[in-house]
């Protein structure tokens, strides 16, 4: 039986890892390559790197990080943030990442998903979705809207429609981030996660809000998520991946226990 994946997410700026609380006040907590190796040995099923480097002329720093991470771990990892075109995708994949995550660029230019899937295969293309709860309207019938710029810009695109459209275009997986829950450590957005996960046949990684192992249990059961992204709860040592997996296993969730 397929295990539910537990995926630490590392935000990287200028080659160093950070963790943003609601995308503000990022604080520096270390070296991404060392952290990748640590999480690999600690039982992470996969890793996500999110490049939040502001200036595009420093992108080569991230490529070097990707190269070093690829040499340090034997599990898949994806890289997102600032992926704007096929060249950006190619650079990250050739440096050794298994997957690229496209977010803003895909919203602005949906054909990028199709082009990436055609050139590199659907399994490489993760659609990153930043979503905010809004009033139900004619434009946003699901009540969840696509946002960019860390939630500051509303796109007028319905999140449910966009998830299905991205699957049609060839995305192999969705990483679904609730801007409302992100950084709160108060639990994932279960309604949103379940709605999206049930609407598509590709796997959905839930993101935003993880604070306790019970939050993961909720999103992997009631939320119908296939995988759960975690950050602060492990970055600050509150829980180990072993503790989280033991808890989930005891509650009947299939997780990978031997590594």
């Amino acid at each position: 039986m397929l295990s539910k994946r537990i995926i630490p997410c590392l935000d990287v700026r200028d080659g160093r890892t950070t963790k943003g609380i609601k995308f503000r006040n990022n604080i520096d907590i270390g070296d991404p390559v060392a952290m990748a190796r640590l999480y690999y040995e600690a039982g992470a099923d996969e890793l996500v790197f999110y490049d939040i480097t502001a200036s595009s002329d420093r992108r080569d720093i991230m490529i070097e990080v990707v190269r070093q991470v690829a040499a340090a771990i034997l599990i898949p990892f994806s890289v997102g943030g600032g992926i704007r075109n096929l060249q950006d995708m190619r650079a990250v994949l050739l440096a050794g990442a298994e997957k690229v995550s496209v977010n803003t660029a895909a919203v602005l230019e949906p054909e990028l998903i199709a082009a990436g899937a055609k050139d590199f295969g659907s399994q490489c293309i993760v659609l990153g979705m930043d979503v905010k709860k809004v009033e139900v309207s004619e434009t946003i019938p699901s009540g969840y809207e696509m946002v960019i710029h860390g939630g500051r810009t509303h796109m007028g695109i319905d999140a449910l429609w966009w998830a299905k459209e991205a699957e049609r275009l060839g995305a192999g997986e969705i990483c679904l981030n609730s801007i409302d829950a992100d950084g709160t450590q108060a639990g994932y957005e279960l309604t949103l996660t379940r709605m999206i996960s049930e609407a598509v046949s590709i796997p959905v990684i839930a993101s935003g809000g993880a604070g306790t192992p019970e939050h993961l249990y909720e999103v992997l059961t009631a939320g119908h998520a296939d995988a759960a992204l975690i950050a602060s709860m492990v970055h600050y040592g509150t829980y180990s991946i072993r503790e989280i997996k033991d808890y989930l296993h005891q509650r009947g969730i299939p997780v990978r226990l031997h590594w």
């Binding site: 599990i75 898949p76 050794g96 192999g172 990978r256």
Partner: protein, 207 residues
């Protein structure tokens, strides 16, 4: 020389790195002559069967693989490389494939609530005691990402099975050829153990 076949089907970096971790500098090649002279062949790949077969034919790697198989060279197919060794694939309108193992590659049946592609870690139930499985515990899991699966015509060529909606063959073997639907190069230390077992294997197996 351990040869890794490059037929422009995905990234070979992780395969190359895993072999290097085991002390082997694999030669990545598109040259059929190099493939025919290899002492051992890793045949990886991700993507679609139609494109893959077209490129294998264009580069004349299809014939080189058949020659190497007939010569008894140990071959390890991975993911797409484990699918195109069969007679044909349902993907891209019944693509004719290499025919090193009788059978076909089929689409994972869609079911309500079942996610396709089958992506993530899953276990393998070993059906036979192949040298490839040495020192691998039964509870180990391996990393999968695929929407099609290999279905050999003969049960004796199925070495291991995995569950995802259906029970499908995840490891196959025929003579000097073994093939895994999962990615040993992305499957942590157990995947690395499997690669090491392959590097030690003399290619002998009674199927």
């Amino acid at each position: 020389m351990v040869v890794i076949i490059d037929y422009r089907a995905g990234n070979l970096t992780s395969v190359v790195r895993s072999l290097k971790a085991l002390g082997v500098n694999g030669e990545v090649t598109q040259d059929p002559a190099v493939v025919e002279k290899a002492t051992r062949i890793v045949f990886p790949g991700v993507g679609a069967a139609g494109t893959a077969m077209a490129i294998l034919r264009e580069l004349k790697l299809d014939q080189a693989l058949r020659t190497a198989f007939e010569a008894g060279t140990p071959i390890l197919g991975i993911c797409l490389g484990a699918q195109v060794v069969l007679d044909y694939s349902e993907e891209n309108d019944n693509t004719p494939c290499l025919g090193l193992i009788p059978g076909s590659t089929r689409a994972l049946p869609r079911q309500p609530g079942l996610k396709i592609p089958h992506m993530g870690w899953n276990s393998v139930r070993f059906l036979q005691a192949h040298p490839l499985f040495q020192e691998l515990p039964e509870n180990a899991e391996y990393y999968f990402v695929h929407s099609y699966y290999p279905a050999p015509a003969e049960e004796r060529m199925v070495l291991g099975v995995t569950e995802h909606g259906v029970t499908f063959p995840s490891v196959m073997g025929r003579r000097n050829l073994v093939a895994t639907q999962f990615h040993p190069e992305k499957s942590g230390r157990f995947g690395l153990q499997l690669l090491e077992n392959f590097l030690r294997w003399d290619g002998r197996w009674q199927d």
